[in-house]
């Protein structure tokens, strides 16, 4: 396992200092977070419920059963939280709401000061660019080399090729994969692909980073390596939420946690 070769301090220029001084294990503060003199939460859920529509052809119509029920919590800016719970508890659904892949069926979800429940659809892409997402299955584009996978968020944001090249190379150095800029994802190991996925998630300097079982497919060594990168982002001021099954990782890196069970938030702290 190699340690991070560089700190992506360059790409994180612009994150407010007030959001950049937290530590894992710091006692979380409910409903706080100062931005421009207005008290704002990074993530706020209030009485949230979520149902998926039943699939066409399943023989049933209308909304399915509620997979999340009465979820209420607040995450302050710069915090680090584990998201814990057994399979089927609703962790991925909760993260889907956080990174705007889903909209709540009821209740109020507020991300980065924006109400998602009532926001117009055309306003969401700009908000998504401020949220980084890491998936268990990486979700890299298989036909694009590592460089272009990392460059994708920057190209979507319309950055210049010169800036893209500088930022991407800095990220590649940070994750220790500079030499594999031209490699296709399929030629990388699982751990390397996950590091690329993390780099893609943070290359836009997100204010919020959510990771859904980012170590689920990795051995313990690679899992620690990935977690070190997530910790590094948290240290630099990004609000981080990590869903995991790994009790050993949680024990190794104690931090506040959201515990879900059968679609309900049973513990926050």
């Amino acid at each position: 396992m190699r340690a991070p070769q560089a700190t992506p301090g360059g790409i994180l220029r612009g994150i407010p200092a007030s959001e950049g001084k937290s530590r894992i294990g710091r006692k979380h503060v409910l409903a706080t977070g100062v931005s421009g003199g207005i008290v704002r939460a990074m993530v706020r859920f209030a009485g949230v419920g979520l149902r998926y529509a039943t699939q066409a052809g399943s023989g049933q119509s209308g909304p399915g059963p509620e997979v999340l029920r009465d979820i209420s919590f607040t995450l302050p800016p710069g915090s680090f939280h584990w998201l814990l719970g057994p399979s089927g508890a609703g962790k991925s659904s909760l993260l889907g709401l956080m990174h705007l892949a889903l909209r709540p069926s009821r209740g109020e979800v507020e991300i980065l000061g924006q109400s998602i429940s009532r926001a117009r659809r055309r306003l969401l892409p700009a908000l998504r660019r401020r949220i980084g997402v890491v998936f268990q299955d990486f979700r890299l584009l298989p036909h694009l080399p590592v460089f272009d996978n990392l460059a994708l968020p920057l190209r979507i944001a319309g950055r210049s090729e010169m800036q893209i090249r500088a930022d991407v190379m800095e990220m590649l150095r940070w994750i220790g994969l500079e030499a594999k800029a031209g490699a296709l994802p399929a030629s990388l190991s699982g751990g390397e692909q996950q590091r690329v996925a993390i780099a893609r998630a943070v290359v836009m300097r997100p204010a919020l980073l959510v990771a859904d079982e980012p170590t689920g497919n990795l051995d313990m060594g690679h899992a620690r390596r990935v977690l070190a990168l997530l910790q590094e982002m948290h240290r630099l001021g990004t609000t981080v939420v990590v869903a995991t099954h790994s009790e050993s990782l949680v024990a190794e890196y104690p931090a506040p946690a959201l515990h879900l069970s059968e679609g309900r938030l049973v513990f926050h702290g």
Partner: protein, 297 residues
């Protein structure tokens, strides 16, 4: 592992992998065939319009009424009044004798002593269903006159040419509609092939306009190229058809490819065909992708 900058830029511009997902063979080939049909329809419409214009002058006087040479003055006025009283007649006027003499000069030569008949031209409000019956009523209105209703038949040919023009334009619209449907199917196939990549771009903050624009640009390029190829194939076919029709218009068939009536082709319309096809492809792809994206939050 290193990669050339050119290749990196090339792939970076196509994050959805549309160069593989939207085939550069099948769609352009289908569009080329439709462009060929469209060009034929276009040329058919243009040819029918030309024929209609040529025959229009022949239908100017739908009916001519010929009176004996000695007719004049009061009797001619009575005949004109009787003809103008007919409900089908829009206008009735006597043809100028000098003009009539000029028309007949090639056959009769200079024969000032030869008495010329008095000819009245009738313009009708609308084409009669039974021109023979109308001719009989005209003959009854002006006793002693002989009636010639050939112009009615020419006018019917003009109407036929116009209907052919309409059919050709309808065929063109049909081809455009089928082309849009083919593009929509191809775009949906491309969406199905790149569903995961589209979702990833969407999750990374790409707008509907950006994703739909990538599809639309690729489709417009393929459709425009296919339509250009089809139009280029259509040009010699149309020139050959025009050559076959030359005897109908008083011309002679060409002896060689270079002598084909290239100048008679509707070049301006043909040049617009690839641009129009690309526009239809771009718009159809935009609508298809945007409609699909509405299912994403």
């Amino acid at each position: 592992m290193r990669m050339s900058g050119a290749l990196r830029r090339s792939r970076g511009r196509d994050p959805l992998g549309l160069r593989r997902a939207l085939s550069d063979r099948l769609l352009p080939a289908l569009v080329a065939a439709m462009a060929l049909l469209g060009a034929l329809a276009l040329a058919g419409a243009r040819g029918a319009a030309d024929l209609s214009g040529r025959w229009q002058s022949g239908a100017a006087a739908a009916i001519t009424v010929q009176l004996p040479a000695a007719t004049g003055g009061e009797k001619l006025d009575q005949a004109l009044s009787a003809l103008r009283a007919l409900p089908e007649v829009a206008e009735a006027k006597a043809m100028d004798q000098a003009r009539l003499a000029a028309l007949l000069r090639p056959w009769l030569g200079e024969a000032p002593a030869l008495p010329l008949p008095v000819v009245i031209e009738l313009h009708l409000k609308r084409l009669p269903a039974a021109p023979e019956a109308l001719a009989e009523r005209v003959a009854q209105a002006v006793p002693g006159a002989s009636v010639e209703a050939h112009g009615v038949w020419v006018a019917r040919l003009v109407a036929l040419a116009r209907s052919l023009q309409g059919v050709a334009m309808a065929a063109l619209l049909l081809v455009a509609g089928i082309g849009a449907a083919v593009v929509a199917v191809a775009t949906r196939a491309g969406i199905a092939a790149r569903r995961e990549a589209i979702t990833i771009l969407h999750d990374l903050g790409a707008t509907d306009a950006e994703i739909a624009g990538r599809f639309a640009r690729r489709v417009a390029l393929l459709v425009g190229g296919g339509a250009l190829a089809g139009t280029l194939v259509a040009a010699p076919v149309l020139a050959a058809f025009a050559d076959l029709a030359a005897p109908l218009l008083g011309g002679q068939p060409a002896g060689s490819v270079l002598a084909l009536p290239w100048g008679s082709l509707p070049w301006a319309e043909l040049a617009l065909l690839p641009l129009l096809a690309a526009g239809i492809g771009w718009l159809t792809a935009q609508l298809t992708v945007r409609r699909w994206l509405r299912r994403l939050p």
